[in-house]
């Protein structure tokens, strides 16, 4: 059949940060690369919280600062504990360009353009149905009844990873290893954003909130300022949400939007988009699968590479850098004579040596710590009750210890408190 003669050095499935980073790196090294993307444009199926850490991505795309769609550099970090109409916050301000806000839709599109400029081919509107697997080796992709072959396939299809599952290479993701992020993007003028959040021109805030906005569900809320909009959303853990959610998930986002302490920041806004996406929540190093095999590598969300510490999320830079490492592994395997699992196993080594697996191992207790329900319910209440007694004292100010005792009402013992504090500081 016509077109059947197309053969590539590498086929990359998915033009997200992981896929485009892999393809860009390979194309620059002279490999014949094909990227297939199911969306109408790269990024049109993608969604994230709102913030990207720049340095790992700049290592992959040196011209990041020059031409990428950077909305605002994050200069303000705020973490808030919310209970009722009270909120206690910790705020940090500094002017280094470490992370920025953007739309992942725009960033993915930009990355795919870099791939094309480097000589890679990006095809949109192509949904891959299956890998071609022969004698246990991935040989290419199948789209409908058409087949395209390559020496290696880099799977960067995202968290649902249907292809890996269908090929029997990875088991289905389970509710205990996934979170659900839901967000509203709210249009707000550049001026209103800078005025309302106390930001300079081009500066942004990353704001994370925990407490009873989530009605005691393990999870948190986030707010990021973009150029002329804000990203407002929540992340819940599917396992616990399945058991305990009482209302439709959009209600939780709505409560956040209408919260009396928050709505003043974006009262004049208008919802531009509503989106949802799953988030991997692995407990490392207990990954249930290998990230390489005969003729294939797995990168990004499909590989479960995301760090969630509660106060920061690192998905895009992990994805991008894992794609970059996958490309390096392909180059190395090529010099060793082929894309066998043995030659590609260098990918695992590269990941181990990189910040990605070092970070995930370092914070391996974070997912367990985040399951401690007192963090979402009792501690926000306690801290706000203490703050209320101290700051809203009319005549006499209580000592902190007395305020604590009064707020606690014997509900939590010293032992539990100290153990939780220890767990938190040990985990993150």
């Amino acid at each position: 059949m016509k077109g059947a003669g197309y053969i590539f050095d590498a086929i990359v499935v998915g033009a997200g940060p992981a896929g485009s980073s892999a393809a860009y790196t390979l194309a620059r090294k002279g490999f014949k690369v094909l990227v297939v993307e199911r969306g109408r444009t790269p990024g049109s199926k993608n969604m994230f919280g709102g913030r990207v850490y720049a340095d790992p991505i700049r290592e992959v795309f040196p011209n990041l600062n020059k031409s990428a769609p950077i909305h605002r550099w994050v200069t303000k970090e705020r973490i808030s504990m919310v209970s009722g109409e009270k909120m206690t916050s910790l705020e940090f301000e500094g002017k280094k360009n470490v992370s920025f806000t953007t739309y992942l839709t725009e960033l993915s599109n930009w990355m795919a353009k870099q791939v094309e400029e480097a000589g890679g081919i990006v095809l949109t509107e192509i949904t891959v149905d299956n890998f071609i697997v022969k004698d246990g080796r991935v040989k290419g992709i199948r789209v409908g009844n058409e087949e395209v072959f390559s020496d290696v396939v880099i799977d960067a299809e995202g968290i649902n990873r249907l292809l890996l599952e269908r090929a029997g290479l990875i088991p289905r993701i389970t509710p205990n290893y996934a979170g659900l992020g839901v967000k509203e993007v709210i249009k707000l003028s550049k001026e209103d954003i800078e005025k309302n959040f106390g930001l300079g021109s081009g500066e942004g805030i990353a704001w994370l909130l925990i407490g009873d906005i989530m009605e005691g569900l393990p999870g948190g809320a986030f707010l990021y300022t973009n150029k002329d909009s804000i990203s407002l959303g929540i992340v819940v853990m599917l396992g616990s949400a399945m058991e305990r959610m009482k209302e439709h998930i959009s209600r939780y986002v709505e409560r956040l939007r209408l919260h009396p302490l928050l709505e003043k920041y974006f009262r004049e806004g208008r919802i531009m988009e509503y989106s949802a996406h799953l988030v991997p929540e692995y407990v490392w190093p207990a990954i249930p699968h290998r990230l390489y095999g005969d003729g294939f590598l797995v990168a990004g969300d499909a590989a479960g590479l995301l760090l969630n510490l509660g106060y920061n999320f690192r998905g895009v830079d992990f994805a991008s850098y894992s794609g970059y490492l996958a490309a390096q592994a392909v180059e190395k395997a090529h010099s060793l004579g082929g894309m066998s699992a043995e030659n590609l196993s260098i990918y695992q080594e590269l990941l181990e040596k990189s910040f990605i697996l070092r970070e995930l191992r370092k914070f391996k207790n974070a997912p367990k710590m985040r399951k401690n329900e007192r963090l979402y319910d009792f501690y926000p209440y306690l801290i706000n009750a203490i703050a209320d007694k101290i700051f809203h004292a009319k005549y006499e100010t209580p000592k902190i210890m007395d305020a604590f005792k009064e707020a606690n009402k014997g509900r939590i013992g010293w032992f539990t408190l100290i153990r939780d504090l220890y767990e938190v500081s040990r985990s993150i």
Binding site: R40, S44, N46, E125, L162, A241, I249, E263, I271, S275
Partner: protein, 103 residues
């Protein structure tokens, strides 16, 4: 047609999920990319899809779950959480389905 004024963030009443979804763009596929095995579905007591599908594609009519794929955000949650494993989920083809622009 909806008027932007109606979508101001501050509202007296809660917004319907449909009204929020009105801000999104789809090019709906001709064939459903999700299939639900209604026999298996009937066995399920908790039906977490009713709460957790962000687009509320699953609604309860009487005792049966009514399903529509048109407003799907393609997050994949339903497939992962379905206790009866009743959901067959595919990616839509030819670029159809949700088209995010600002996420």
């Amino acid at each position: 047609m909806s008027v932007a004024k109606d979508e101001r963030v501050k509202k007296e009443k809660p917004m319907k999920v449909d009204d929020i979804l009105n801000n999104d763009i789809w090019d709906v596929d001709y064939e459903p990319h999700i299939r639900v095995d209604s026999e298996k579905c009937r066995k399920c007591k908790n039906k977490p899809c009713l709460y957790l599908c962000p687009a509320q594609c699953y609604t309860l009519v009487g005792n049966e779950v009514l399903f529509s794929y048109e407003g799907c955000l393609e997050c994949g949650t339903c497939r992962v959480i379905c206790p009866e494993n009743a959901i067959t989920w595919n990616y839509p083809v030819s670029g159809r389905g949700i088209h995010y622009r600002f996420s």
